[in-house]
Symmetry: D2
Subunit: 351 residues, 4 copies
């Protein structure tokens, strides 16, 4: 496969460039008879869209959800759901200047090397715009997971070196950086605004927690639940690392510390992050991803022209100084897709 | 798929339990006409086998490579290579005691929940023994990569909190922990032996470097090169996290620091770890994985009987106090498989 | 996968119901840098559309091709081509009467049994309308095959018991039944019109010939070229059988008759239909498919209501009395997709 | 994938050449907790083995079933079943003479063109020996289907132009050609023996009937049940065509004849062969395959040396003069695999 298909039993195929006419997704394998509508999906789209606050890009992508197939009388039919999001407020001319240059941190150079040509407008397929299709598809999976009693929630735990110290229930969607600690959130916003004012950007960490996943999901050996989640997360452009449970800290732990011992109530600790041997334990599935600083900055940088000549470049356009707030719903969407897929794969094995 | 198949154009399917009769692998999609023999693969098997030193398990798995198909007159035929490793020195009776208990850190509980029954002898399919088949298959991929001028090398950078400070060329295979810094290696060995003497274990970090991968490999959007590597690595039982290039440190960097700027000679830095937008840049591909402390320790731990009763358990058997040294060839094997697969996928796209 | 994805290295995913808003397809894995436009694809769509003559349905589907992604400055970019065909001239009310009945020959009963509910309007996803997306995708594959010097041509050889006796070059598109023999074509038209006048329908046979496929394509063991073509063809709703080369006649032949002997110029005969051992021989690939009579007839038939009650039903709507003429471009489209896919798979193996 | 993997939720991967050391199969996705043993599989192997009568090859392949993984205390564990069949009674020297020649009807030429080299001993991977692995895997699927109440039975209906006129229950395994009509069987045997005595071979037709498949199996659009069965059957080397229900005869029928009308008891006829719109109707699934005459004949034939020089060749070795009797269990095996796979896929969709 050429890389635009994800999942096996709930399977999505996406298309679309940031400055083309539309992005969209075909969701195949949806359980029939489930009530879903455009409004339900729109809620998730609105969490991802730009222009939500001063800390996100002022572009207006206007991600209006259109479901063109797979629904009948308000219910899924079991045939492919097709969701299209027409692009608006495109300014391809913003990109004319960099048509023949490689923007540092962007996929300009690698796409040209891979394909021999590239659509330079707004990063084409490598744009964050591509994730809109993921969020739409993820909302469908979320609907199916709701019926199973599974909840999926992600939140920022660190931005620009500022870390959350508490997890305050209900605070996440109440602050524009989607941090789980309102105090930290205030400092993060300040930090982002200050960096934005000088044209720079910063990275952060997003954590995701899945609650209600029963034990037994995940396919050993190669399709372990954590392996599939890792692939899903690293397939998001800005993510450069992932860790489950204790994660990298496990490298410094002893076996006697890291092992999750059990008592009659279940696991006493959750250093494994809810997955052992690639299979869910029934405890919360917990992982964290490293989000790199946004590549588009307006500080002059060294690069080369496609002809090899050295240049100094300043990236224009309307960009996010920190990707964390808008990556939160994308992380959730991909997690929903992986988990729902594994519920279905488990059903196939047992039945 | 039920999880025992990996890859697309070079595709492996593995089988076998640690205390069954054999483990093995079918490698499909191998380029025809390539000279390879059992001795070449045996070299890699010997790097993974137990009993190499005082810091690894004294079990004798005797991983004698047998190629039963796909070779003719010393060359690959393009049909499936089948490699089988018969198990030896099995002591399933070592596991009788834990037949009805869940060993902390092991997949006993999750396998039972998934399948409704389990082969308790030596963790069955969840055993590290399963990785022998990966190393055999990885050696085939390595052979193909050699012909492309690609080298893949992994090494320990941290064990039990002790970190390598230098990268000393040629030192890795000369020390039993496969650390890249002989001085650190000495301390690591001491640490492992000291922990082993009290029945405990420790974790660490392994880094992997791929040299000679030309720019342009990787399939956006979902099959990004880093996404595929992440899946490959997290599919290895003991690995709990992965990061590329700057990785989690990127969360604390500014865009102006993290972006890899270019000059006429290419990329000036390599914070991206050789992959941008999911596609190789031509720079070294660099990633690190977090290895959890071995789960099998002989310190008493709390657990439950399958009937729910609380117990104290002591894991017997012959185990590795630190998995890093033996995971190094497994990490390399999986990396080889991913990269060779993507070379073939790129060929399919362009031709 | 849930059945709406086809192919491996050139891979299509389709969506859409006959009386929904649109049908369409994502084509992934397209070679980058190839010039293609909507007009090129439209040519094939127009061959499939209804209303071309008195022997096809008078519905106006108006299959206007819209490419919404994957093209840049007139060339493919290597990213997914998305092609959408908005539905027009829908009359869902034509189907109100059969909402709760099972039309004989149609998938009404089986869809209800599979999904527990169904979109009764015009057969939903089981409609022949679905093949529009295949023809659009097939045109993309055809473009790639043209560059390889491969031609794919299908034609009617039998309708309503009337068989073509000659193959007259250039005659196929000149008659509305796409028969390869103009004399037979005239009789076929007469037959169809006569059946249509009494509300009945008839079946036929379509042959397909692929010229210019070099020897060596096809993946033994399970993905043999003929196996893949067979799957592709039987996936077309009205097709009930396929045979390659001598086909069913081979059952009556001796080995000494059927074997294709060779001389210095190549194969002396082509009873194999251009495929031996699942791999192309370099001779023309020739196969025939059996097309069932159209299920929609206006003659009264026995059926049951969804509640189990017996009924007599008369299928209304605007239907094709014989599917052969319009299935010809669909057969070609699917053949193009299979062959192009195998060219790419062969490239992956060798490179 | 490179063609040695079949199925999705019950998935098999095979390996092995006819004159290598072994053939075998990994069966992944098997339902856990099912009682199965080598003896159960051996029954099917013995139906496929050569030397069963005067009408089959006198070679002794001795297909002794060895299950090396995936079983524990007599039950499947849900992890891969690995079955190996060591080759015996090989006489590769029989093939020395044709090392550099292309045997008519065999895949010698096409394999060389595909791979650039070939294992000439006994057709290597293109040998009928490869089907032993299919029969072993099919027996596993058959076990699972038995628990669902599904039976799969194939039988010869025509050999060398002699057709069965009756279906006599219980007669199939009682005659060496596995015909459903004992009278026809006697004539078929005579015919085969007479052809064998002059070194020639003949073809035939095998029919397969699946009973007890409930309505609703099959995945529209591309993975229709008949499409998947067609692929499975055409992947068997000697099969050149397939038809479902009325099949090619449907081409001569009217819609009013072919449509399967319904009454309160279900379908009145079964021209569709138990599949409509790619989904099972609940009626018997019935299909027929065309089996070509065996390619190996000892009558002199024209061919060329690999250097292009014209030759006359006489194929030596111990061959079947008619493949039908031994292809019957292979057809059943592949049918079992397809149906069981679709049961599991249906479970995934609904759950």
């Amino acid at each position: 496969m050429a890389g635009n298909v994800f999942g096996e039993r709930i399977q999505i195929t996406t298309f679309g460039e940031s400055h083309g006419e539309a992005v969209g997704v075909i969701v195949d394998g949806v359980t029939p008879g489930v009530e879903i509508d455009e409004a339900y999906i729109q809620v998730q789209m609105d969490r991802r869209k730009p222009g939500q606050s001063t800390v996100t890009s002022p572009r207006k992508e206007y991600d209006k959800v259109n479901i063109l197939s797979g629904l009948f009388e308000g219910k899924t039919t079991g045939t492919p759901l097709f969701i299209i999001l027409f692009n608006k407020d495109m300014r391809p001319e913003d990109y004319d200047e960099i048509k023949h240059s490689f923007r540092p941190g962007h996929a300009d150079f690698t796409y040209l090397k891979k394909y021999g040509l590239r659509d330079h407008r707004g990063s084409g397929r490598a744009s964050g715009r591509e994730t809109a299709a993921r969020v739409a598809a993820g909302a469908v999976a979320r609907k199916l997971l709701e019926q199973r009693g599974v909840s999926v929630i992600a939140y920022t735990t660190e931005i620009g070196g500022i870390q959350c110290r508490n997890y305050v229930e209900g605070s996440i969607e109440a602050n524009p950086v989607r941090a789980c600690d309102p105090e930290a959130a205030a400092k993060m916003i300040e930090k982002i605004e200050s960096l934005a004012s000088v044209g720079d950007s910063c990275g952060g960490i997003v954590e995701c927690k899945l609650r209600g996943v029963n034990p037994g999901l995940g396919e050993p050996v190669f399709d372990k639940l954590d392996a599939e989640i890792a692939k899903a997360m690293l397939s998001i452009g800005a993510i450069k690392g992932i860790e489950f449970g204790a994660g990298f800290a496990a490298a410094k732990m002893l076996g006697s510390e890291h092992n999750d011992q059990m008592n009659a109530d279940g696991f006493i600790s959750n250093h494994s992050g809810g997955i052992i041997g690639g299979i869910s334990t029934g405890a919360d599935i917990v992982f964290r991803v490293a989000v790199k600083p946004a590549s588009s900055i307006s500080i002059p940088q060294h690069t080369v022209h496609v002809n090899g000549e050295e240049q100094v470049i300043v990236t224009k356009g309307r960009h996010d100084p920190c990707i964390c707030p808008r990556i939160v719903p994308v992380v959730e969407a991909m997690a929903c897709l992986v988990i729902e897929d594994h519920f279905k794969r488990q059903a196939a094995m047992l039945h």
